[in-house]
Amino acid sequence: MDTLAEASKATRSFGAFTAVSAADLAVGRGEVAGLLGANGAGKTTLIRLLLGLLRPTGGTVRLFGSPPSIATRRRVGYVPQTLGLYTGLTVAENWSFTAAAFGTTGAPVPDSISAWKNELVAGLPLGAQRQVAFAVALSHRPELLVLDEPTSGVGPLGSARLWEEIRQAVSLGAGVLVTTHNMEEAEQCDRLVVMAAGKVVAAGTTAGIIGDRKAAEIHCDDTGRAFAVLDANGFAVQMQGKALRIAGTATAAAGLLSRAGIDATIETVPANLEEAFVAIARNPEAA
């Protein structure tokens, strides 16, 4: 794999607080890597290390084979969650400003956003603003694309369209690093890295992260009582349509419900990525 960005045992402390601790992460050409973690897990600090916006206090970070610098920054496209557009400028003005900053002036505004060319960014719906931010970030043909919550606030169809553009950039050879709280989005990635308390605690494909974790689906007439019994016994119970769902196998729940005299059908099913993630984030030592 042609590695574009790599953190090896990267550490960053702020005084006595260690935000990132000995983290390993690599993003290669032609792949989408997803970075998952609860708030405060260290994702943003790790990305800032990779982009060269922060220096590591331990370990190494390499971008295109060298330490991050102004020269490597030219080869990176970054879309922060706040999009990074100038909302008081038009779409065309944002386009030409970015082109000038990267020294790539002359390219016309692409078709995907030309309909809004003369509109102020502030007046566009969020989905359109996201498309503009993408187009602008891709304008200098970056080799590495870093996207923070790329489809936050965007509906199912809008997300599918943004992912089409991400994959388009990948098929042209770019590598992509995505951070997300959205597990559907995480499943769009080729590979996932999970952080908790500043450390990388799991890495692999969606199936690899889930591993053999299970969930139990509970069907019964008295959902309310079943919920109360499981809830009182510390299970993080969730509604799932008219059924209930808990992490773990059916056995523990079956015993509790039968002792409470509740007649229920319980099925053990594979956990989904969200359940696996929550389990890892709540107990990172066990991962």
């Binding site: 998952l36 973690g37 609860a38 708030n39 405060g40 719906p125 969020l126 989905g127 919550e149 489809t151 936050s152 606030g153 965007v154 509906g155 199912p156 169809l157 809008g158 997300s159 599918a160 369209r161 992912w163 089409e164 991400i166 994959r167 388009q168 098929s171 709280h181 959205n182 597990m183 559907e184 499943e187 769009q188 990635c189 080729d190 959902t223 309310g224 919920f227 109360a228 809830d231 993080a236 119970v237 969730q238 509604m239 799932q240 349509g241 008219k242 209930l244 989904n272 969200e274 993630f277 929550v278 984030a281 709540r282």
Partner: protein
């Protein structure tokens, strides 16, 4: 349906914000309204909460003091502590005595905010703020709970806590409607309404929506978009053939809920 919207239309100047929208909301059930920015989700909830008069159709809702409503951007007082937020809300709903203490204690326990009673609302993390806002809306045990994007931008751990809180209110008998942009959250609901550009693109139980996709769905790899009715799923494409014939080389796959939602949104867009 007990509560909810029936054939509601809302216009803002010449712009149609909602057209013929029905959202059933029933006791002990969670209805999820899913859609993107600008689809009309917040407008639906404002009509349901009685904050906006519809131009057409009917909103069925209990008396105002039996509703709990959390808007997308607020729902708590940033300059008050957690305890002061609880006290103020309890005063506003004239809760008193044992019931007041019992509910406030229960909400502190369920939101995990017991250790943060003295912290200002505005200094809590995003996830804790959303939990407090939902907790405050539950303080007076509303019959109808209306939550506008409670989980947007919230990390999955806090999101699981929020859904536990909402699920508990549902099993306690509240009728609940929640808006979201996350399709997997819609899959938890008893009833899902998919909104696209102010219109209902699909509605029913997750199973109903899953089985409502006409034609066949397939998968294929490649750089180029195979047909106009295609979308990305990871490194592959999903190819939808509503008339039932997939192009050569495309492997049929059974649609999942996410596919069904995208297909319905696409069909709704094509119909406009």
């Amino acid at each position: 349906m007990r509560w909810g919207l029936e054939d509601v239309g809302v216009s803002r100047g010449r712009k149609v914000a909602l057209a013929g929208v029905t959202v059933p909301v029933d006791p002990s059930r969670i209805t999820v309204v899913v859609g993107g920015d600008g689809a009309g989700k917040s407008t639906c909830l404002q009509v349901l909460a009685g904050l906006l008069e519809p131009d057409a159709g009917t909103a069925h809702r209990p008396a105002k003091e039996r509703i709990g409503y959390v808007p997308a951007t607020a729902g708590l007082y940033a300059d008050l502590t957690v305890q002061e937020n609880l006290d103020f809300t309890a005063d506003a709903y004239r809760l008193s005595g044992g019931e007041r203490d019992r509910k406030a204690g229960q909400i502190l326990e369920q939101t995990g905010l017991g250790g943060a009673r003295g912290r200002l609302g505005g200094q809590l993390s995003g996830g804790m703020q959303r939990k407090l806002a939902v907790g405050l809306a539950l303080l007076h045990s509303p019959e109808l709970l209306i939550l506008d994007e409670p989980t947007t931008g919230v990390d999955p751990v806090s999101r699981a806590d929020l859904w536990r809180l909402v699920s508990r209110a549902a099993v306690d008998g509240a009728a609940i409607t929640v808006t979201t942009t996350y399709v997997n959250e819609a899959a938890r609901a008893a009833c899902v309404v998919l909104l696209e550009a102010g219109k209902v693109a699909a509605s029913g139980s997750p199973e109903d929506i899953l089985h409502s996709v006409p034609g066949v769905l397939g998968t294929v790899r490649g750089a180029e978009r195979p047909t106009p009715l295609s979308w990305r799923r990871g490194a592959s494409w999903r190819v939808w053939a509503p008339a039932g014939r997939l192009p050569d080389g495309v492997q049929p796959v059974p649609p999942d809920f996410e596919d069904a939602v995208v297909a319905a949104a696409l069909a709704s867009e094509l119909g406009r």
